[in-house]
Amino acid sequence: MKIVVTVKLVPDTNADKRIDPATKRLVRTGVETVLNPFDEYAIEAALQLKEKLGGDTTVTIFSMAPETGKEIVRKALAMGADDAAMLSDAGLEGSDVWGTAYAMAQALKKVGFDLIVCGTQSTDAITGELPGALAEYLGVPGLTYLRKVDVDGTTVRGERETDNGYQKVVAELPALVSVTKSINEPRYPSLKGIMGAKKKTITTLSLAELALDRPVGSDGAKTEVLDLAAAPVRGKGRMVNASDGADGARIIVEFLREKKLL
């Protein structure tokens, strides 16, 4: 069975992010690029499935990113994946979710898969929409927000997190799942893994190799960022001094009522 994990390369989550007011895009130069932290859970989930299924199960890492991201993809390989494929093309710049999902779908058809594992969301654009769009373009069932996943025979099942519990979901393979942070604790790459990753193949695909029937990149974007505004500065907290505890409690209750929280 072939499992493909989609990983996004994002600016270091701890770094200050800046948006270029002219292009309205995230400034990526001068900031260290890292694996989208959510995708480490996806990799871990895939590796655990591989360990469980054994046999000829393989895990492939897939990323749509500039070729300069190769070394970061290697980190995903160091965790234990078998190989990787990248879709890298200057023509993809400016893709929106729609275009990203479309281009990725065409590439993934070429790469081949039985199961695709995505993270829940990226830490830069954070739309959380890509997995759904990707499943749609691939024409496969998409089970999203899974906190548990298992494959047996030709079916994938899992527990889908909801606000007040979970749903048990099941689909036939080939399929796509996205997993949440509660699914596992991602492993650290081992020394052997790091060294082994140097010898694993990372194939790169360009747009020319894909069968595209519509434009991608900024030309194909269906959405456009019109304006950007900084998040409102949080108001100052209110300090309450009360002579005795009951007094203080009353003031807090009043405050919560006022805010309609009680």
Partner: protein, 607 residues
Amino acid sequence: MGAYQAPLRDMLFNIRELVDFESVVSLPGFEEAAEYLEPVLEQAAEFAADVLDPLNHSGDREGAHFDHGTVSTPKGFKAAFKQFADGGWIGLPMPTEYGGQNLPQIIATAALEMWQASNMAFSNGPLLNQGAIEAILLCGTSEQKQRFIPRLIAGEWTGTMDLTEPQAGSDLAQVRTKAVPTGDHFLLTGQKIFITYGEHDYVDNIVHLVLARTPNAPEGVKGISLFIVPKRTLNPDGSLGELNDVRCAGIEHKLGIHASPTCTMNYGEAGGAVGYLVGEENEGLKYMFIMMNAARFSVGVQGYSLADRAFQAALAYARERVQSKDVAAKEWTPVRIIEHPDVRRMLMDCKAHVEAMRSLAFYTAAQLDHAHHNPDPAAKAEAQSGVELFTPIVKAWSTEISTQLVSEALQCFGGMGYIEETGVAQYYRDVRIAQIYEGTTGIQANDLLGRKFLRDQGKTAMRVMGEMQSTLAALNAWESDELKAIGTEFAKALRALTDASQWLGAEGLRVLANSGNLKSMFAGAVPYLLLWGYTAGGWMMAKAAVIAAGKAGEPFYDAKLKTARYYAAHALPKAVAYAEEVMGGGQSTLAVSEDEFDLDRRALALV
């Protein structure tokens, strides 16, 4: 305190530029090491910051606990060890045939620094484990190697080094533990003290490497043998058997490294602990010394790692803490303390010395790689002599000045430095042991002066001083005031080292002719070692300055050059002072009689 951030850039500078990395990675077996350098260091840094560093302070507060022969390590340590072992980090420099990754010592040294800086008490376990592995590798039978090494490398078992006894610390000739042959093994009885990770809750089996005497062994150093004594005996098929007759009788309450259990180990209380002889009988101390060289080097690295960690904390604090006006400003506006010249001095002391120590350690590590792997016998021997000369210097000089540096880093915090919650106080307590174990500073200095200098008839020392002269020439070849200023101070230190060495050599000859004073020579042993340390540190900074001058304009190199300049102005003058102490101070060290030490403490009526 902020998370540990490994000095990866400086490590790479040392590996790729300062030491002759090309020659290391052209040694047989290391051909691919260069490719792995960056990803391995990055991952080690992440592991140190994410897994080890967060357990450092909690481990200190909780400490290891003893209960009826068992020892529990602080919360999180056992899981961290499992991650460390599963990550394959134990095997980094170990041969591939036993499950290691066979990476060069220079890479291992960088990783070691990160482990130590982020959590010294945790990392003492792997440090001693490595000693045990190396002992078996060096002189075990092939069966012993097959049985023990793969499991020690995988972290299924751990190893210890059991040398010290109550009456045998610096002087291991006094070891009394007995080993009596019985069939294919020996039965050991005796007591070892201060055994690091002698007992713990990480894994099921602990492999003790124990020094002991067989019944007819000659007195003294020539009658000591080395034994493997596992906590659980092994069945003929290699599986774990019964508990051996080894018991932890208690752990020490210590100044620092609270999470690292320091155990009293009793052997043979119920008749005798099963032990297997390693190598030849009566050769144990020789083996132990070969291996101890590696451990001594590691403890030197431990020293500056803590200094670097404390420095990182001090720098962060100095950037935030606002106190007192700028001495040069008119208005009384308090400023961040990093703007005060004296705080700058303390921070520069830390930065410059740590960088010098790191470079000296990496330089020595590269020599170690050549000593182990160079196919050319002459090059191998030369590298080995360099390692022998520099090992006591890395061990003792680095740990002596690191203790001072951690103290300076703590000083940057003012009163908060003395408060445990701040965290830097722990580094101050932890680092202090590094001057003591694996041979005290005094013992290292005796080794340098006696074995590495006098017995070698100064040959290696002279060769190294010749290399220092070449660096000086390279420095002076630059038309640069900065480099010339460094050259002036380095030349003085080198002159001082040469003078003191010549004086010691001449005094040594006088001793042979019965006209010299051996005791007053040895009174200068530690000053001589420190003289070597400061000068060798200056040598490394001079090499760094030459490289940096060629890349002026790039921020890292500009800072390096300024740091080298600071070292030249502030650290190198100490070399001159130590040389004077060596040549002129010995007599006065010994002039006061034992009685005169405390004449002043007698009852006034008796005076």
